[in-house]
Symmetry: C2
Subunit: 206 residues, 2 copies
């Protein structure tokens, strides 16, 4: 098997993405420099700019990779749920772990808050749509099974629950007024969310 120039490029790009991911994950966007990433790979900073146009697009590329992993974990399990509740629990736990394990990586979000680059918004939107799609599918299945009432607009229902679940976190955090939720706190949020999902599902039944 012949190794082409493009393969070589891709391998190097991959190495760069790994190093960048490592830095972004541990120190956040603003606290990692292009020099440091280059240093980790024993290459010159200029070479980074040969492979990626600028810092923010390098970040986006890493984000893309991270998001793809998350998206895969969702699509892998779509339509495999015993019931709606299992689907919601999966969504709650999977998203939760995704956010916790990438907490520092997302400081770019918290930093820019409004006006994120379009490329980032696309990824965020895509992730959101994928989550929604998975849950909408679970709802439809549950309707077909006759377990819950037919829903005129499943997407609306799913997004409503996702917004509500989000509220459980932000309120919980603001009340405890701590930036970094600890283990017990996270467990409290989780159990509240499960309770909310539980009541919500019952509210969809006949």
């Amino acid at each position: 098997m012949m190794i082409t120039a493009n393969d070589q490029q891709d391998v190097k790009k991959e190495k760069i993405l790994e190093a960048a991911h490592h830095r972004f994950l541990h120190f956040g966007y603003s606290k990692t420099t292009m020099n440091e990433i280059a240093g980790d790979l024993s290459m010159s900073k200029a070479l980074l700019y040969y492979y990626f146009p600028d810092k923010s697009q390098l970040y986006v590329a890493v984000m893309r990779k991270v998001a793809d992993g998350y998206l895969k974990s969702l699509t892998d399990r779509i339509n495999t749920f015993a019931d709606l509740k299992e689907a919601f629990i999966f969504q709650i736990d999977t998203q939760h772990e995704f956010i916790v394990t990438n907490y520092n990586f997302f400081d770019f979000f918290r930093l820019n808050e409004q006006n994120l680059p379009d490329a980032i918004w696309e990824i965020v939107t895509q992730v959101h749509e994928s989550e929604t799609h998975m849950l909408v599918s679970a709802i439809k299945t549950e309707v077909d099974r006759g377990k819950i009432k037919p829903v005129s607009n499943p997407t609306e229902i799913v997004e409503l629950l996702l917004d509500a679940l989000h509220g459980v976190r932000v309120k919980s955090v603001s009340h405890k007024k701590t930036m970094f939720p600890n283990k017990e706190h996270l467990e409290e949020i989780r159990s509240k969310r499960l309770l909310l999902a539980d009541i919500f599902i019952k509210g969809l039944m006949y």
Copy 2:
């Protein structure tokens, strides 16, 4: 009827509170100066300090007054609801109007975010407890009427819904990425909340 010195003081304090409220409401805490408040009343700034120890405590006093009005609107209606849904709708609409009409006034909150003065936290807590109490009472009544299942911990349930309703706003705002929600946007938030409350109540039924 004799007018005592204390009555006079209270009248003047009240005038100051009004002027301060006016300024805080229109320009927020950080954008109003003690000089301006004094100027509005044609008095010297030093006199403000004769009646109130400092700016933040003046703000708290105004907050106290504003909160009392809100608390009264809650207690006036407690136990007057035809059903649980009516109580939730009342809570949603009343709180919503409270927040909208006092939006700028609350910039003090957004500004300090974490570490608010204790006096403010007490008021916030009191308001939250009053809202919760009203809804807990409505839930208990509904249980007694046999309309919904007995609830082991009504307070937990109410707080869960309040958190969830909060999420509907913050998510809705962050998605539209606009600081000041407009009329239609607010109406959208309201209808989402009503839908959520509706499903939630059904989820509490037998």
